[in-house]
Structures are given as C-alpha cells and as structure tokens.
C-alpha cells in the first residue's frame, strides 16, 4: 500500500498529462495541479503545495531545468522527479545539477512511474540503470582527464555499479551487508558530487575566460 502523494504534473502535451493523471490517480496519488510550461509550474508549485513535481524537460518559455532550479530554491522540501523522453546525457546531468531527485524515461511503465513518485516522496533518489551507467562513465572520464576533482569512493562506485546492473536499493543493501538507507545515502552523495563537479566546471571555465581577457 503506497502512501498518497500530492503531485504537480508539468508537461506541454495535454494528452500526456491526462495519461499520467489517470495512472497516478489509479495508484491512489492526488494530482493537485497541471502546468503546461515552466512559468506556470513555478507558480503552481507555490500555490498547490505539491510534495512531488513530475517535470518534463522540454517546455516552452522557461525550461524544465530552470523551473526545477527555481522550485527547489523556493521550496527545498519539494521533490522534483524528471520525466523526459530524452536519454541525452546533457539533459540528465542538467536536471540532476538543478536538484532533481530522480530521472525516469517516458517509456517507463505506469507501475514504475507511480512507485517512483512514492519513492522520491520518501526521500529516495530514483536512478535508472542507464542513468547509473552514464554517471559511472562521467566519473571515470573525470578520473582520467582531471585527477584531483571529486571522485567516487570505492563503495560509491560499487553501489552505482549494482544500480547499473538493475539491482534495487534493498538488494544492494543485502549484497553489501548495509542498510537500504545507507545505500540511498550513497546514491544521494553520488548525486551531490555530480552537482559539485558541475560547479567545478563552471569555475574553471570562468577562470579561463578571465585569464584570456586579462590586459
């Protein structure tokens, strides 16, 4: 039995929103609002007091990434679950950097969607195996190209690998003899490191620009 979650659905396609709404309501969740662009999403996140925002990334006016950033800035307790058709690495990392707690592909089943909403509400980061593989790849690239930047600990690497292999957090916990909560913490730390890494990149970029333009 899942605990009912207050959800704000953000997508620019009305047909898609209808589908998601009926899936969520069938699972006992409450859809407290629907937004068709980023601006509306930010306003409704304020007014409807959702617990979870289901966010599409490709939105008119204000992008999903920007809306995610603004919503989390204003109400840090609100969880954003990104639901996008795009498997592009860039989108994944932008969404995570903006503070999203999870990422699901639109091709996910309705069961996966409704359970992901409940899990994100409970503070669990939602990782798909392919996202885990992308993150692993990103960190290995960092390790080779820029030694000294935030890297994964051996344990985090292990956890991420199990996620990429399709293990659930509780299965990983059993494998490594740690609690499910600890596994979630590891995944959360990995997300935080990824965000940190993005900040490093920006800083380096700014420094280079600054040096180039120095008189």
């Amino acid at each position: 039995m899942t605990v009912p979650v207050r959800v704000l659905v953000v997508d620019d396609h009305p047909v898609w929103r209808d589908g998601v709404r009926s899936d969520l309501e069938a699972a006992g969740h409450a859809v407290v609002g629907e937004a068709s662009d980023g601006r509306e999403a930010i306003a409704l996140a304020r007014d409807c007091m959702p617990e979870v925002v289901l966010m599409d990334l490709k939105l008119p006016h204000v992008s999903g990434v920007e809306a995610t950033r603004r919503i989390i800035d204003e109400s840090p307790h609100v969880k954003v679950l990104v639901l996008s058709a795009s498997a592009e690495e860039k989108d994944v990392f932008e969404a995570v950097k903006a503070g999203a707690s999870g990422y699901l592909l639109k091709s996910s089943t309705s069961d996966e969607l409704t359970s992901a909403v409940a899990r994100v509400r409970a503070g669990e980061p939602v990782f798909t195996p392919s996202l885990a593989a992308l993150v692993l790849d990103e960190f290995r690239r960092i390790a080779v190209e820029v030694p000294g930047e935030p890297a994964l600990t051996p344990r985090e690497n292990e956890v991420l690998k199990y996620v990429a292999k399709g293990y659930t957090y509780s299965e990983i916990g059993e494998k490594l003899f740690i609690s499910t909560k600890t596994v979630q913490n590891h995944v959360q730390n990995i997300l935080t490191k990824l965000q940190l890494r993005k900040r490093y990149e920006l800083m380096r970029y700014a420094l280079q620009r600054g040096l180039d333009q120095a008189p």
Partner: protein
C-alpha cells in the same frame, strides 16, 4: 580512440621520452668507453699502473655492462639502475688502487674519470632531479674514498687536491641534477603532446560521427513518416469496426513502439559507429534485447565499448543463451544487461529478478542440465575469459561474462 587508449597514450609518451634520453646516455657511454681504453693503453705503455690487471679487468666489466645495455629493448628498472651505479662507483674507487700512490686523478687525464658520469645521467633521466642528485652524491663519495686508497688520507690533502676533489664532486652532482631536471621537463612536454594529439583524433572522430548521424537521421525520418501514415490509416480502419478488435489496437502500439525505439537510438544518443571490423557492444546488446518480449530487458553500458566482430558474435551468443535460460526457468519479469570495460576486461552482466536457484555445478552435471552452462562457459574460455554465476533462491540470478578487452593474451 577510446579514453583508455588516450590515457595509455600519455603514459606511453612519457616512457618513450625516457627511452629517447636513455639512448642519448648510451651514446655517451660508448664515447666514454672508447676514451677509457685509449687512455689506459697510453698509461700502460708509459708504465703508469701499479695494478695493471685490475685496471683492465675493471675496463672489461664496464665494457661488458655497456654491451649489455646496448641490447635493444633493455628496460630500466631498479635493479638495472643499482647495478649501473655499482659499476660506475667501482670505476671511481678503483682509480685509487691501480695507479701509483699519490698519482691519482688531480691534474692529469685518467681513464676512469669520464664513464661514471653515465650513472648520474641515467638516474637523472629515470628519476628526475632527485635521482640524478642521489647518484651524483654516491659518485662524489666514491671520489673521497679513492683518496685514502691511493695513500692520501683525506685529512692531509693539499689545497690543490681539495680543490680538485670538490670540483669533481660538484661535477657529478650538477650533471645528475641538471639532466634530471631536463628529463622531467622533456617527459612532461611529451606527455602533453601525446594528450593533445589524442584529443585531436577524438575530435575528428566525433565530427565524422556527427556527419554520419545526420545522414542516418534523414533515412529514419522516412521510416517515421511511413509508420505514422500506417498508424493513421489502420487507426481509421479500426475505428469503423464494431467491436474494435484488441489485437488490432495492440498492433498499432507495436508499430509506434518500434519507431520510438529507432528514433531514440538514432537521434537522442551519440551514435556508436564502430571502427572497421569491430562492433558496438551496446548496439549488439540492444538488438538482442529487442528480440525478446517475454520480459522487459534494459541495456546500460559505461561509455562506448568496441569489440572485434568475432568476439561480439561469441559474446552475444552467450548472452542470448543466458536470456533463453532465463525465459525458460526464472519466471523473471525484468532483465538488466550491463556492460563495461574495467581493468582491461570487458564485463557483461545479465541479471534477472526471477526465482533464482542454488548454483551447484556438480549437481547440474549429474542431472544432465549443465549443457547450456558448459556451452556458455566454453565460449568465454575460447576468448580467454571466464563466466561466473551468482544466484540464490528468491533473489534472482546474475550471470557475469568477462573477456580480455584486447583479444586473447598470447601464450
């Protein structure tokens, strides 16, 4: 070029840089050796030796050592460096033993005063400034020791001798330290050059891939338009029927799904177009996953992985067997395929959420059920790899295949 190659490229650059410098030192060794023999012949002719046999024996050792070092593909390790320093230190020390007492080194050319520099230079090349200084220091110490052996206690040396001695020590230190410093700079710049070249190659490959992607995207557009008009036509036909047949609607769903997958593969991800003769492991696994509809199969790969075509065939054949086994026994609803390259090995994990089993090879064999297992294992062993099974009742099954990333190791 993959990232792994680029990394070993930079490391290969530093090794290559050191080898180049070592070849330079080797030339110096031969020149110094020739000089050593020449001076020794002159000295022997003038009866300048008190232990001539020892002189020639020492020169012989230095000669043999130089010849040994000249053999191609000698690797400079700790042992080689230690032996080299030993030989060179001996040459310095022996100078105190072979000439008449009080004659040593000082103002005249001596046969062993050139060659020992080679050790300071080699240590500098191999270990940088610190290495060069350390070897130079040892040689300097040998210079001091040679004095009492020549009947001149260090405490009683005249001012000219002390000047010469100090000069000799400083020469060794400076030679080792300077070469060490130059070696560090040279190695660094060579590494940077290798890295830059690797990046350039990657950039070019990327550009080529993008061009290829555009051309594929154009072809796909046609197939998407076709699929859309098919769905449009069939949809209207179905709408006219009463009752609307479920399998007809499901058929529409399948057409849409297939197009969705193709589009996603082509447009949303960097296409992984493998080099000639090789295959993208991700593409192979995705094809496999698409063949099945008994359970959902997800594919995740860490970066692009290229494998030789024959290796790809064996790997996919083994994965296909594993999937067939899952379909037959596991009652799984979901299977994850995961692939990565780590520690020079390609790893593929096939993981299901089914009933699992107690993995007991002997019991399986006894029941005549080890056939598929043996076949999968055999495929891996033919590639120089291995297979591992991890399962327990109620916890699903993970089969892991591992093969060397660069073909079967020789021997």
């Amino acid at each position: 070029m993959s990232r792994v190659d680029a990394r070993s490229g930079a490391a290969g650059g530093s090794a290559e840089a050191r080898r180049t410098l070592m070849r330079g030192v080797l030339v110096f060794r031969w020149v110094a050796l020739a000089w050593m023999v020449t001076i020794a012949v002159i000295d022997a002719g003038a009866d300048e030796f008190r232990r001539e046999a020892l002189a020639w024996a020492s020169i012989g050792v230095a000669g043999a050592w130089t010849v040994w070092l000249t053999v191609p593909a000698r690797r400079w390790g700790r042992v080689t460096l230690a032996v080299d320093l030993g030989v060179c230190t001996w040459l310095v020390v022996v100078s105190g033993l072979v000439v008449f007492e009080g004659e040593v080194v000082g103002g005249r050319a001596f046969f062993a005063s050139g060659y020992p520099f080679a050790a300071a230079l080699s240590w500098g090349v191999h270990d940088g400034t610190k290495g060069g200084l350390a070897a130079g220091g040892v040689l300097g110490l040998a210079l001091i020791i040679a004095r009492p052996l020549n009947g001149m206690p260090v405490g009683e040396l005249p001012a000219t001798e002390i000047r010469d001695l100090t000069g000799g020590i400083v020469n060794y230190l400076v030679a080792g330290g300077a070469v060490g410093f130059v070696s560090i700079l040279f190695v660094r710049s060579t590494e940077a050059l290798h890295r830059a070249t690797g990046e350039l190659v990657r950039e070019r490959e990327r550009a080529a891939r993008l061009a290829e992607r555009e051309s594929i995207a154009r072809q796909i557009h046609d197939s998407v338009l076709q699929a859309l008009s098919l769905i449009n036509k069939k949809g209207h036909e179905l709408a006219r029927l009463d009752p609307i047949p479920g399998d007809g609607v499901a058929e529409l769903g399948r057409i849409a799904e297939k197009q969705e997958q193709e589009l996603r593969a082509v447009i949303l991800r960097d296409p992984e177009l493998p080099p000639t003769g090789r295959a993208s492991l991700r593409a192979e696994l995705e094809t496999l996953a698409g063949e099945l509809d008994t359970f959902e199969v997800t594919v995740s790969c860490v970066g692009p992985i290229w494998v030789d075509r024959n290796v790809a065939e064996e790997l996919t054949a083994a994965v296909r067997q594993a999937l067939a086994n899952i379909a037959e026994h596991s009652r799984a609803s979901r299977v994850s395929l995961f692939a990565e390259v780590e520690g020079g090995r390609i790893l593929i994990s096939v993981r299901d959420n089914g009933v699992g089993f107690v993995y007991d090879e002997a019991a399986l064999k006894a029941n005549g059920k080890a056939g598929i297992l043996k076949s999968m294992k055999g495929r891996m062993e033919d590639l120089g790899g291995s297979m591992a099974i991890n399962s327990s009742p109620g916890h699903g099954t993970e089969v892991e295949f591992a093969v060397p990333a660069h073909g079967k190791p020789e021997g």
